[in-house]
Amino acid sequence: MIQEFNRTYLWGRDVKYRMGLYTTMAVFYKAVVNALLGEFSVDSLTMLEMLAVSFLFALAETVIVPSGKNRGEVSMRRRAILLIVLANIVYIGSALLFGWFRGIPVWWAAIMIAVLELGLAALWYALWLEYQRDTKLLNQNLQHFQQEL
């Protein structure tokens, strides 16, 4: 019972961290666009919408890529693609649905989508770099161990 509660609590904390990160990114995006349009505030309702959307996306992310779970390389690649597709659908769809960036020219929208894609690519590139670094460290320690005896 207590283990189940602890597991749910940790999962909830994980969702909150991810939600916080994505909400910050969305609000930052909106603030930059508003500033470029000459408006130096972000509507509270818009921020709440972004929070709710980010919560749903973070929830989906913890289901698609649960932290600390063993997955094969192929499975992880599929899950990463699914997550990127979902990010596009959720954030572009919500922006259209709630009119977050109403009134901007089409070429702005194109640039914003490109930035979103770059951001997602950078996220996975950072993960790839982390595994590369860990792999290098593992092999260095292995060599050291093998030479020691």
Binding site: K69, L142, Q146
Partner: protein, 145 residues
């Protein structure tokens, strides 16, 4: 620790350890010598028996309560359990990597890190084995990380 190797016309190879007391380092050397001198009794399905040096074993796997020893070119069966193999040859680099596998750290060619704290080990015979998430911390510890 001072290491001296003397070459001479001796009837038998001999190792003498000189120390004030048996400290951790000396115990490690002793266990290494003892485990290194032990041979592993193994056999094939058709009961062909062989005495293996522990260093010849790349990894051991338990399948349906039988323990198999994987060498570079052959697979042998042993009566020892994975726990016994690990305990007996730990000083020689035997390390548990999952519930059903013990690997010889000296038989690994390279390692690769994967998501979920999983590690893939490519052995000297190019076979790949996985260090499970549960055993990865102990594996890293063995490598001095």
């Amino acid at each position: 620790m001072k290491i001296t190797v003397e070459h001479g016309d001796v009837p038998e190879n001999e190792v003498i350890l000189r120390c004030r007391e048996l400290d951790g380092e000396m115990l490690h050397v002793l266990s290494l010598l003892r485990s290194g001198l032990q041979t592993l009794c193994a056999w094939t399905e058709d009961r062909q028996m062989v005495l293996l040096q522990p260093g010849e074993v790349l990894y051991a796997e338990s399948v349906e309560e039988r323990t198999w020893l994987y060498c570079e070119k052959a697979v042998w069966r042993t009566a020892l359990t994975l726990a016994e193999l690990e305990a007996r040859y730990e000083a020689l680099g035997f390390c548990r990597i999952s519930r059903s596998m013990v690997v010889n750290l000296h038989g690994i060619r390279r390692l690769k890190s994967y998501p979920g704290n999983r590690i893939e080990a490519t052995m000297r015979n190019d076979e790949r084995v996985l260090v499970s998430r549960r055993y990865a911390p102990f594996f890293r510890e063995r490598l001095g990380m």
